[in-house]
């Protein structure tokens, strides 16, 4: 069992999930309540990672952040590092890759809140932030939690994009999924077996949790 890789994977998943929380709430809520020009286009772009091969995104990130020119060169000169082959780059890639998994469930959860309730809250003199905090979030939380759980699990299992953008650097970009691949490649089947089984268990738990949450959600909405 490669503990460094496991810790790194969990760290990556947690960072991604935490950063996706505000992004998901803002975009999910916005898409649920507002009609605006270009909404369909925006939704298309946000759903793109569902169908896009990870290597395509990996390729574009590599091109964008290559230290030889453009954005990558600027980042290198300004901050002393670019976003490929390090942890920050993996976080960025994971966020982009998980956008639909975070936003869509949250959007559905916000859309399910009856308009009348929000209006009643506003009539009682609550400001928009108060409505969000006291009315919308408490009602939408099962959707939000399941969005976070799915994003977390999905990040844990990312492979292609991590290998392309991160390489396989121990302690920096070598996640558990990459560690499994590496140990299979180097004939270390016992450790691949242990790591695979832990991920299998973890995925089972995650999926049960999301099903349980959505069941609960439906109960409270009956």
């Amino acid at each position: 069992m490669d503990w460094t890789a496991l810790v790194l994977s969990i760290k990556l998943s947690l960072t991604t999930t935490l950063l996706l929380l505000p992004i998901g709430i803002v975009f999910g809520r916005w898409l649920a309540y507002k009609q605006f020009f270009g909404k369909a286009l925006l939704q298309t772009f946000l759903a793109l990672p569902l169908v896009l091969p990870p290597t395509v995104l990996g390729y574009y990130l590599l091109v964008a952040f290559s230290p030889n020119k453009g954005l990558g060169l600027w980042l290198l000169q300004t901050f002393g590092s670019t976003l490929i082959f390090n942890f920050k780059g993996l976080v960025l890639a994971s966020i982009i890759f998980n956008l639909p998994f975070a936003i869509q469930p949250m959007q559905r959860a916000f859309a399910a809140i009856p308009r009348a309730i929000r209006e009643a809250a506003a009539c009682c003199g609550m400001g928009p932030l108060q409505v969000l905090w006291k009315i919308e979030l408490p009602l939408a939380w099962p959707g939000i939690i399941s969005a976070l759980v799915i994003s977390f699990a999905h990040t844990l299992g990312e492979f292609g994009i991590v290998l392309m953008v991160g390489g396989s650097i121990p302690g920096e970009t070598q996640t558990i999924a990459i560690a499994i691949y590496d140990s299979v490649q180097t004939f270390d089947n016992p450790s691949a077996a242990i790591m695979s089984f832990s991920l299998l268990l973890f995925s089972l738990i995650t999926i049960s949790l999301t099903f349980w949450l959505s069941a609960r959600y439906e109960q409270t909405h009956d």
């Binding site: 790194l8 082959f85 009315i135 939690i145 650097i169 121990p170 070598q174 590496d182 490649q185 180097t186």
Partner: protein, 260 residues
Amino acid sequence: MYNPYLKPGLKLSFIVLILFCSPLSWADRVPLVAAAASVKFALQDIAEAFHRDTGKEIRISYASSGNLTRQIQQGAPFELFLSANHAYVEQLYQQQLTRDHGVIYALGRLVLLTPNESSLALDGQLNGLAQAIQQGRLQRFAIANPKHAPYGRAAREVLRQQGLWKLLKPHLVLGENVAQAAQFVTSGAAQAGLSAYSLALAPALKNTCRIQLIPASRHQPLQQTLVLLHNAGDSARLFFIYLQQDKARAILAHYGYMRP
């Protein structure tokens, strides 16, 4: 409105936030080495000996030499590079990405390997292999991808020279690197393949495969090259020197490498 679920959630997120602030601190100081997949087992042993002798650790990232070269060109934070050929190091030097031309520290050898239970006759001239193809007894033959793996390139050269390349082409499976090519054979997914001698001598492979050395004269020499990159620190430099000393040479010899 009181919500019992929100509060514990908030608390949890703070704990999580604090957890994050603790970085994987050793990752910052330990030098990062890029190494060709073929040298993996030998390098693990050398790194252990290095640790015993100096108390210092190194981190190693394995891939095909071509892949690592590309990563270095794209700014990967390696301090030392062990390539399975000299050409990639030379290419990096031309782009001013290495300190110098590097040092050829060993010569690699190619082996033909097949699982123990296979009936394939092994010989350095690959006659048994040619027969097996003609009789339709061979479905899959594994080599490393010649596009970015030096051992794959050497394998292609040998097969071309023996006039087997066209015959074998429909049966080829390409490993991402030479270790994967060997793994295809050990797992039985391919009935035979060409891989690195240094991998075939590793304990994990020794017992599962039969091997036949390919005469070194049949391909361009696999010049294992060692080079320091610009951001190499003291530990990386120490390891660079260690790799050229007797203890490391003995380990390399044990894994079938020849002196340059």
